[in-house]
Symmetry: C2
Subunit: 441 residues, 2 copies
């Protein structure tokens, strides 16, 4: 019998604002950060690692919330807990007093993600499997039992969810074999941050093409002339057949989004990402209608499964970009995948930041193996930075995530990273006595 | 010239769970709490008081977030700040790193509400006016300038908002005179908490009728037989003509809500409140269609103006119950009122908790005076507890809020309350060494 002895939390921040990595029309100076959670047990070989992702200030608020969310875990039996991953999710999520602070959104939900990501990591380690495999080895009934299906029955019942998973169950092994050879296709955002010069943009686009990527994403929305010039450069470098995506990071009202996006149509974007408020289901539906055949994508700020349910019901999006550290971990992510399958919307998870790539590779692989059964229209984000802080970093080759094989959810950071980048007392921050960024963005 | 010298924050919690006040189908053991903010200036006669409302655990998280939100206020000139209440709102709200934690929802938005409520309180005190009067003395252009209209232009442009306010401007004075005589009508929820016995329910319904209330609200949704019995008692006591409202506090999925509510139709409820997830615009629209003529009400967990915009666009609600401590203070509340006017939906603000009645009286009065111009279908919540902690408590007579006359937003608590109920070191909590409630609800 194994017992949880402690849950430790860490405020880890990286000074990415110094190099304009991650700069976009809404977020000019992000310091990529993780509210990082470590579940310790009385077995020295078993821990669980998880996090949620933020961009700097306020990471401490998420850390505090995660510590409160995790309290009920201490003293619990690991075998019981990993045998009922739906039960522990519902217990933590159902705390009525903490629920009031969302409900199911914002800091309190990010904190649930951090804690439950660590629980899932621990469960996969305990089973000796990578997370995608732990999920792929579950029956349809088990998957629906751990999923959070509350408030979804008008769009998808548990019976329907079991039926759609059952249909693909017999062929899971073949798809695992296939992915073992090819990996799961990804695209890169590393080229297109707003803060980069035209020259750097051109060079990075060329490097991306040379590395085998067939999709490139650029940030837009700050200045229309700049957008035209940058998109022209990108399209010139990648050629007419590669896919070019654009991302506005929520800067527009709905009418402005429609006009601006249509003015960029000549560059044939595959999708416009986050054209307006991430909460605006009806707004996204209106934009989608008005900018077709350009697709609409959103989800990195999609707060919970109820939002995604409505995005599907309203036919508001062409691509679902769920976030592995904003939704309530695997439990809630599963139900979004189930709905996406029913409504025929490809899921192309948001990644980048710090550690998100490490997480989403598991989700995309599982989706192909057990839920969607197709790669058509699917491509998962990849951003090439901060992987060196992870014990089992994702591996991307030929524009594809290679299957992770180590047990867990790939979420563990090196101790040396915690020592260096813990805020404000890690060696990096202490030695520079730097604020992570000016007081107001 | 007056300068802000400090912003102090307090974690204030009241042990309401001991008496089942506030118990409903989702929240069984709330300890009504305030993340309380005091803006201090170098003028000993000028401070600003504000708060957001929570139900216990996690109030400290909101306090921490409010302290971060408030940082840019320290050292600022009060006259400049109160002359541009839209500017300071946009500055605080626009912090891109904190924005990531919402955006515009959950803890980070509750914290913005607490801080901006204190700013508005300070502005009204500086002007020597109650908040409703400060607003009623603004021109249509000034009101639209301070309102947060971002992401709303597909539903309501600034020009439209100015036009609808201008129409009522000449007759504001007459409505102020009218309300000075009658007060603003309210209803009571004090009778209907789930944790109360049938006998207590009957007695409290009778007392409410005797006190002049024409609307009574009961909590439902935990057990269908109990709901039938309790509604029968209430209807018997209040008679066929008084209004009976029911409140499910989000316990149902959409199909279940429709079935359950229709099973209570014989008691002729005026509205069903929070039938399902507060995020579910399309779900509320479906419920509304299926339970008519019973109305649908929601809003106390309505996270921001973008949600309310969609509720209006989708014709999802009959009554808009915005919350004065969850929306981003007056700036965001104004735009919800403007949209409600355009879409013809009465606003009946959520109140109760601690201090919410003190705030919403100002909002309802302003709405009648300057936005809606009618009382038809309007009634504002009132719950009769915890008012004794406020320096200028709301006054309810004959089922109506009487016009507050003291300068400010009525948000100031007594020093003695802070000394007694600050958590965990106030005299109440320290002497009992009590946790506010068991670790899990």
């Amino acid at each position: 019998m194994t017992t949880i002895t402690a849950v430790d939390t860490y405020d880890v921040r990286f000074p990415t604002s110094l190099t304009a990595d991650g700069s976009d029309a809404m977020n000019k100076d992000g310091d990529y950060s993780a509210a990082y959670v470590v579940i310790r047990t009385d077995d020295p070989d078993l821990s669980g690692f998880g996090f949620t992702f933020t961009i700097g200030r306020g990471n401490d608020i998420c850390v505090m919330a995660a510590a409160q969310r995790a309290l009920p875990l201490v003293g619990r039996n690991v075998e019981e807990l990993t045998a009922d991953l739906g039960g522990i999710y519902r217990e933590l999520q159902g705390d009525s007093q903490l629920r009031w602070l969302g409900p199911e959104k914002g800091v309190i939900h990010l904190a649930l993600a951090a804690v439950m990501n660590a629980v899932w990591d621990m469960a996969a380690r305990a089973a000796g499997k990578p997370l995608w495999r732990l999920l792929a080895d579950m029956t349809p009934e088990q998957l629906v039992e751990v999923a959070d299906m509350r408030y979804l029955s008008d769009a998808l019942t548990k019976t329907e969810a079991i039926a759609l998973l059952t249909e693909l169950a017999p062929t899971r092994a073949a798809r695992i074999a296939e992915l073992t050879g090819t990996g799961y296709p990804c695209y890169t955002t590393s080229a297109g941050w707003l803060g980069y010069s035209d020259e750097k943009l051109r060079r990075l686009c060329q490097e991306a093409v040379d590395s085998g990527y067939k999709h490139i994403k650029l940030k837009v929305g700050a200045n229309r002339d700049d957008d035209h010039r940058r998109l022209a450069i990108a399209r010139e470098v990648i050629g007419p057949d590669a896919n070019l995506m654009i991302d506005a990071n929520q800067v527009w009202d709905v009418p402005e989004a429609i006009e601006w996006v249509n003015s960029l149509a000549e560059f044939k974007p595959l999708w416009i990402e986050e054209p307006t408020s991430p909460d605006d289901v009806l707004g996204h539906a209106a934009v989608r209608k008005a900018v077709a055949p350009i697709g609409v994508a959103t989800g990195e700020h999609g707060m919970n499964r109820v939002l995604f349910k409505q995005m599907f019901q309203a036919e508001a999006i062409d691509f679902c970009q769920l976030d592995s550290a904003r939704l309530g971990s695997v439990n809630e992510i599963l139900s979004v995948y189930f709905m996406a399958k029913k409504f025929g919307v490809p899921v192309c998870p948001h990644a980048g930041g710090v550690g998100l790539c490490e997480l989403v590779q598991h989700l995309s692989i599982f989706d192909y193996v057990a839920v969607s059964g197709t790669l058509e229209g699917r491509v998962t984000e990849y951003v090439d930075h901060l992987h060196e802080h992870f014990v089992e970093p994702c591996i991307v080759e030929n524009g594809a995530y290679q299957l992770p094989l180590a047990p867990g959810y790939s979420a563990e950071m090196f101790e040396s990273t915690l020592d260096e980048f813990s805020f404000p007392n890690g060696s990096y921050w202490a030695s520079r006595a730097l604020e992570p960024a000016p007081a107001m963005g």
